[in-house]
Amino acid sequence: MTGKIRTVTEVVKTVPDGAHIALGGFAIARSVVAVVHELIRQKKRDLTLSQGVAGLDTDLLVGAGAVARLIIGGGSLDRFGPVHCINRARESGSLSFEDWSSLSICFRYLAGALGLSFIPIKSLIASEILDRLENGAGAVQVKAIACPFTGERYVAMKALVPDICFVHVQIADSEGNCRILGPRWDNEEQAKAADRLVVVAEEIVSTDEIRREPERTIIPAHRVEAVIHQPFGAYPASVFGCYDYDAAHLKLYVEHSRDARKITDYIDEYIRGTADHSAYLEKAAPLQQRSALKARPVLGY
């Protein structure tokens, strides 16, 4: 039974311009590349993006000019380089930028997930991150408060409640019960904070299989609006247990992302120039190449 299984094209059609999107990737791991490519193909505009540590997915969206506002804790492509498109956009001031830390973004998602409109934290204090938030786009998101019991001073942060969250997982059933293999960074909190949740799964299993190990269900089906079944949906990023990152393609990406014109060439060739994710995969990594990236069962990469 197909349940909530939808194509990425169908799902992205339901994302309005200007929406606040939370992305589940971290640097070059479980990046929601299939979704980001389709957001670019469908020419979505003025998006607000939030993420703990931005990576390939967010850098691409910024490079495509789809983003008006960024709310992130940091950004990196690991050793392959910095997030050039994001950094360039900051330097040119072409988008509204909120700089946080990994834990403060996680706490803000946690507050959203728990239905708390605010949460205190002991990070950010006495830093220029806080100064910039207080004097900039984040001014209405932070406030100095004291513990009503101990008097200890905290930074109160407003809950982060994305309109829609996209998380890339290894295993799901057609109803949306999800398993995440390996570390989960802030995926559970961001997924449960969002008003709408869509998961991209490498593999679809039966609900009976899910019922065999319910402890492993990180996201239960009733929270999930749609399930996109897309093997290699994070390529060229890695998905633990499924496939490794493609170092050659990441180098190619970074070469292009250094330069505003060249990133457009990349996007035209690999994204706008391909009809869908399958066509993109055939172009960027034909079957033989994908097979070589497949994870070995014990190593997981």
């Binding site: 540590v53 950004g75 830390s101 006495a126 960074w185 909190e189």
Partner: protein
């Protein structure tokens, strides 16, 4: 093979870690230093990764924190909320290792931007850096020793050391703040009274004048200058044969 500066740095980092401690590490030399300590005097050390990893056994020289190779065979895979919330923010992380674009005389760290030559350039930002600097009991920075990377004041205070030279408690900061800056030339510490960076030891063969000339803030010449201990033969063997056989971290230009 000659002992490399990176090997001296790794050994110096390892020396700062006590058995049984909980340590937040990153990719590269911090991870190498941590596993050197674990393989020698501190077998019960618990390395943590911010993404949600405890006690991993990295394999095949990972390229970064999100590389499946770094969290191989961990004893726990969780998330930010566990590692950074229920460990770091809970106050039980003994040591946090950080890298930096810039560290100033008060141990304040910049990982956000540079203004060299008047040109504003942005970098990775905080990620877990501000959280570690704010909350760990002790922070150790490992970096290249260069005047422009050790300025009087950072171009952007991403992660607090002793801002304004003030005591951390006066600033409502919980963690203990910066403890060591380990570079390819020396080990620096912080004066308990002034909270400014001080020379702890020079690596063998490095002169004070060399270090002073490559430090952007004024560095006081101690009456007697200690020399950083070299890694032992056993430490070198572990570093070269077990931890980084391909010399990926130890071989790189910092």
């Amino acid at each position: 093979m000659e002992i490399r500066a990176t090997e001296i740095m790794a050994a110096a980092g390892a020396r700062e870690l006590k058995n049984g401690e909980t340590v937040v590490v990153g990719i590269g030399l911090p991870q190498v230093a941590c596993f050197l300590a674990k393989a020698t005097h501190a077998p019960e050390l618990t390395p943590l990764l911010e993404i949600g990893v405890a006690n991993m056994r990295p394999k095949d020289t990972p390229v970064g924190l999100a590389d499946s190779r770094i969290f191989y065979r961990a004893t726990c895979w969780s998330g930010f909320l566990d590692v950074m919330g229920m460990n770091l923010h809970r106050g039980i992380v003994d040591t946090g290792f950080l890298g930096a674009l810039e560290v100033d005389r008060f141990g304040n760290i910049n990982t956000t931007l540079s203004k060299h030559g008047g040109k504003l350039r942005y970098f990775n930002g905080s990620a877990g850096g501000n959280d570690v600097a704010s909350l760990a009991k002790r922070v150790i920075v490992i970096m290249r020793h260069e005047a422009r990377k050790l300025p009087v004041a950072v171009a952007h205070l991403t992660s607090p050391g002793f801002p304004g030279g003030k005591p951390r408690a006066d600033l409502d900061l919980r963690g203990g703040g910066p403890h060591r800056i380990i570079t390819d030339k020396a080990v620096l510490g912080f004066d308990a009274g002034t909270r400014t960076a001080q020379l702890v030891s020079l690596h063998p063969g490095i002169s004070f004048d060399d270090v002073a000339a490559n430090t952007g803030f004024p560095l006081q010449r101690p009456d007697s200058i200690a020399v950083t201990s070299l890694p032992t033969a056993e430490q070198l063997r572990i570093l070269r044969e077990e931890i980084d056989p391909k010399s990926v971290y130890l071989g790189q230009a910092l």
